[in-house]
């Protein structure tokens, strides 16, 4: 196998996307994704059992599709990587079991890797040059994290994360309240375009001095997020209009809600970057597509002298290519594979990049 440009197949099944991607070193050769999103629409959120059922049916066809696109056979693959966590336990187990069977049947080494670090690892694809140390902001339906990446394969640190809902979950719940459908991110982003983001002042979670502290004496939640209070505030606001028999100002609420989310995310992310001396931030996760988040992050980072890297959208949402990309980095760095006996870890910490 070429250790500088290994061919790695990556498998992703931590939420509602079944992904199989193939890379050669830093080049993406295939990125097949099958999503069960349509089956979750009427529930207004991801139903774990429905997602897991869909993974079982989608796995072999998605694998076949990735191999066809890459014009490779399994013999050409040097190693296999799979998301072992964090994510939905029942969904993770389908991908991990499939990956183990694939590794055993082909005789290839298998890496059980961290989903969050894979979101960052995707940044090495498509000719993007990342500095040796950088920050990452991950925002999706399942996560909201600020990371410090000193080495993709050996040293990733969690600077902050949500203590309740993920940002994307807050979007989904708010979209349901406003009757805007699922997934909530794009729906609210669209409705917000016609609204006044200053119409309502919704709470910015964990921004009080007692949580934030200062740089010398940081509070417990300096870089952490909370979106449950925001969700409650939006619900009260909607109820208020309903109780008075007034029409709900959907666009203004959507815009004001979105402003509260992106304001707190971007301000906390920029502060975390500054205090850790990080000059580059990679934006990942499905909410990276949000126009207001990108706009405000770009503006605030520009003022702070921080450059922003945003991978193509198809690589920001959950996919197998990001798993393969991190897998290729691990192979190139000579990291030992995980073997066949590891368990899934639905709350795998970012410090655990690859299972041993």
């Amino acid at each position: 196998m070429s250790t500088t440009e290994p061919i790695v197949l990556g498998i992703e099944s931590s939420c509602d996307e079944t992904g199989v991607g193939i890379v050669r070193g830093n080049r993406l050769l295939a990125n097949a994704v099958s999503s069960s999103m349509d089956e979750h629409v009427r529930f207004g959120g991801v139903i774990p059992e429905i997602a897991a059922r869909a993974h079982l049916e989608a796995f072999v066809p998605t694998l076949q599709s990735a191999l066809d696109t890459a014009e490779l056979t399994l013999d050409d693959i040097d190693a296999i990587a799979v998301t072992s966590g964090p994510g939905l336990a029942g969904a993770l187990m389908v991908g991990v079991s499939a990956a183990k069977a694939l590794a055993l049947a082909t005789g290839k080494p298998l890496y059980g890797i961290n989903h969050l670090v894979a979101h960052v690892g995707v940044g090495v694809l498509e000719g993007t040059i990342l500095p040796p140390t950088f920050g990452a902001l991950l925002v999706s339906g399942g996560h909201t994290e600020i990371l410090k990446v000193t080495s993709l394969t050996h040293d990733v640190q969690l600077l902050g994360s949500t203590i309740d809902d993920a940002a994307g979950e807050a979007y989904d719940k708010t979209a349901r309240l406003l009757g805007l459908g699922y997934p909530g991110g794009p729906a609210i982003d669209k409705a917000a375009k016609n609204g006044d983001r200053k119409a309502f002042r919704f709470p910015r979670g964990l921004t009080l001095p007692k949580f934030v502290g200062n740089e010398e004496n940081p509070g417990k939640h300096r870089h952490n997020f909370s979106f449950s209070g925001l969700k409650t505030a939006v619900a009260r606001c909607v109820e208020h209009f309903e109780a008075n028999g007034e029409e709900i100002p959907v666009a203004d609420i959507a815009a004001s809600f979105q402003e509260a989310v992106v304001d707190v995310i971007t301000s906390k992310a920029v502060r975390a970057m500054q205090e850790h001396g990080l000059k580059t931030v990679l934006l990942g996760g499905g909410v990276a597509a949000n126009t207001r988040l990108r706009e405000l992050l770009a503006a605030r980072c520009a003022s702070a002298g921080i450059s922003v890297v945003v991978p193509p959208f198809s690589l920001c949402t959950d996919n197998g290519g990001m798993v393969a990309a991190l897998g290729a980095q691990l192979v190139a760095d000579g990291v030992a594979p995980s073997g066949l006996d590891f368990a899934t870890d639905s709350s795998q910490p970012v410090t655990n990049i690859v299972l041993s």
């Binding site: 009427r42 529930f43 207004g44 139903i47 059992e49 429905i50 897991a52 059922r53 993974h55 079982l56 796995f59 072999v60 694998l63 076949q64 399994l74 336990a89 029942g90 187990m93 389908v94 991990v96 079991s97 499939a98 183990k100 069977a101 694939l102 590794a103 055993l104 049947a105 082909t106 349901r176 309240l177 009757g179 066949l340 006996d341 590891f342 368990a343 899934t344």
Partner: protein, 225 residues
């Protein structure tokens, strides 16, 4: 001589290697636990093949239990079997998992006449099916409380879980079978018989028997109305 690989994870992780011509079990392994399918299955298959000098691509086929069984564990075996079949280019045959218990009843000589087999469905329910004295499926598979089973001898680990309830409706839980879990070796027995009888086993769709439990939230229903 090619052999069959058999996999069932509807109850515990269980694997077996079975002789193609005689149907005799060459080797088998079943986990003592019912919740470690993801961790153990691949290693069990690897060990079985290595210890018996078998190559996956030389297998005559793979039998896989399609349930019913607790969903998460069941899927582990199904996705693995389908993946093995894909990589090794060998056929995968779906076998209803409770057939393994029925085969065990027949081979143990414990039964005569009609009987029922039952495995643990959790949530105070059993997965069960009813057979004639030859092992032909008469009814099922079903999922229900123990009190809905017919007044017949009941075999398998499920019978031991609800002895009083079963006896209250005239069923006869068979004590010597209370440690019988669904296993891959007996599953293969039934699979080979069915193949010889010309049955089509190409369907490996899981027998969930229960919906996903997902509820449409009240306010979403309102929005639709």
């Amino acid at each position: 001589m090619p052999n069959y690989l058999s996999i069932d994870t509807s109850a515990h992780a269980s694997v077996a290697l079975v002789d193609y011509t005689t149907g005799s079990v060459i080797a088998q392994k079943t986990s003592p636990k019912g919740n470690d399918q993801t961790e153990t299955l691949a290693s069990y298959v690897r060990d079985l093949l290595e210890e018996n000098n078998e190559q996956g691509k030389n297998l005559a086929g793979i039998f896989v239990g399609v349930g019913p069984g607790p969903f998460t564990g069941l899927r582990v075996g199904l996705v693995a079997a389908r993946t093995f079949g894909f990589v090794w280019n060998v056929p995968v045959y779906g076998v209803m998992s409770l057939h393994a218990l029925a085969e065990r009843v027949l081979r143990s000589g414990e039964g005569s006449g009609e009987f029922v087999v039952a495995s643990d469905a959790r949530r105070k329910e059993l997965y069960w099916a009813r057979y004639d004295s030859e092992g032909k499926l008469l009814d099922g598979p079903h999922v229900s409380s123990a009190t809905e089973l017919p007044a017949l001898p009941v075999y398998g680990v499920g019978a031991g879980l609800y002895v009083e309830e079963l006896e209250s409706v005239g069923a006869k839980p068979w004590a010597r079978s209370f440690d019988w879990v669904v296993d891959a070796a007996h599953l293969a027995d039934r699979g080979m018989d069915d193949l010889l009888a010309g049955k089509d086993l190409s369907d490996t769709a899981p027998q969930y028997l229960r919906e996903s439990d997902a509820q449409v939230p009240a306010f979403m229903k309102q929005a639709k109305a």
